[in-house]
Symmetry: C2
Subunit: 267 residues, 2 copies
Amino acid sequence: MTKCLAILAGQGDLPQMLAQNNPDALFVTFLGVDVSVPDGIKHYRASFEKLGQLFDVLKQSGVTDLVFAGAMARPALDPAKFDAKMITLAPRLMEIMARGDDALFRGIAEIFEAEGFSIKAAHAIQPDLLLPAGNHFGPEPSSLDQIDQARALEVLAALSPLDISQAVVVAGGQVLGIETIQGTDAMLNYVATTPQHLLRKKAIMLKGPKKGQDIRFDVPTIGKDTVYAAAAAGLAGIYILAGWVNVLHRDQVELAIKETGLFLRAL
Amino acid sequence: MTKCLAILAGQGDLPQMLAQNNPDALFVTFLGVDVSVPDGIKHYRASFEKLGQLFDVLKQSGVTDLVFAGAMARPALDPAKFDAKMITLAPRLMEIMARGDDALFRGIAEIFEAEGFSIKAAHAIQPDLLLPAGNHFGPEPSSLDQIDQARALEVLAALSPLDISQAVVVAGGQVLGIETIQGTDAMLNYVATTPQHLLRKKAIMLKGPKKGQDIRFDVPTIGKDTVYAAAAAGLAGIYILAGWVNVLHRDQVELAIKETGLFLRAL
């Protein structure tokens, strides 16, 4: 199974974790995306402009399954460098790159699937990424935290059809942060600057997917750094939607929860 | 008409402007809210804990109309200082203070109206606060700016039923900022920190009311500082919903638009 897997690696810890647990996989990085390559793994450095070459290499290596892992910003493409395959794909790619993340990912999945590859979610390769519902680290949330959680869920649900936002911060019914394209950590840094007089209680963060989100791409993810950033922002705890949020290095996350005194609950 | 007006003043330029144009009004400030009192105006310093006293003073001064102007954070109330009237109002106030801004303002309006006062919108006192639809300062928005404006309007509309957010920033279809309780300037400061690689084009901000918002309170407001903050955040321009956004010191705003090269359009 792992013999026919390729990890298309973006930034962050997830591709590294997957490589560690799938040492026979082909590790694919892209020119212009700074990703460190784990020792002792087969590596191919691809170019966004030459997807035809990438398809060939994957097929020649016997790859059947692909996992997209880690963050990858929309690349600037240089049409002068396109290979023949890429020239045929370019109109479709231009069209989908102008859309929201979901449409983009779905379009890219279709392009790879049309080449005969099967796209897997990271948690299909490594099931312990997901924290089952009811799992809980740290102290119990208060009843007011639970009310804030319900409010955060309302906000996430309202924005979900617009393909925006995987995280919301609420304190005492007041919304303190709504994740935009800059990501969860940037939002938590913003929340950290909230003037004291606007805070009625400690805040909670809810993190979950966008409605109808293709769970094979851009899966909401938390790690120990998320916990520390949440603590620095003065939060009481973090809720995640079970089955929809990757928890990287669960042992480290649990340790961070112990250190910071926050709670983490999978709903 | 102005003889029977009281300005219940919060922070910012609006109460000062209203006082300047209504020198016969009674200028009411509240203990714990730092507001400078314009020279030569009748002034009463009220206490949130003694609304009964405030009602008496207003009635004795012949006040019939009230305008709430400027920002006022939810005060911390000390029940030990409540006057008799306030004791009877307290249960209702406690209930509405736990809600969203709209519910709070509506509740406060009802309390003042029950005392026989008529609550006016600031722009009912000073109609030139509103910029009519079609008014435009600065360069023309591009067609891509117009697309971003439509996207921003979608986001505002989605959050509106939840009583959240009066402003949204969009660039190239990507949402860069959604106003939360910290206000527009804080959001613009956040947008200013967006990494360059996430920007496909210069952003636009749309500012407008929440759906069903009581326009007598918490009216979305822009002034020259908003323009400068938007310029510092790298924006191309600002859209406002005409008839729903107060523009403070229009001449200063127009000058700021000229200086920064942004556009301002009332939709």
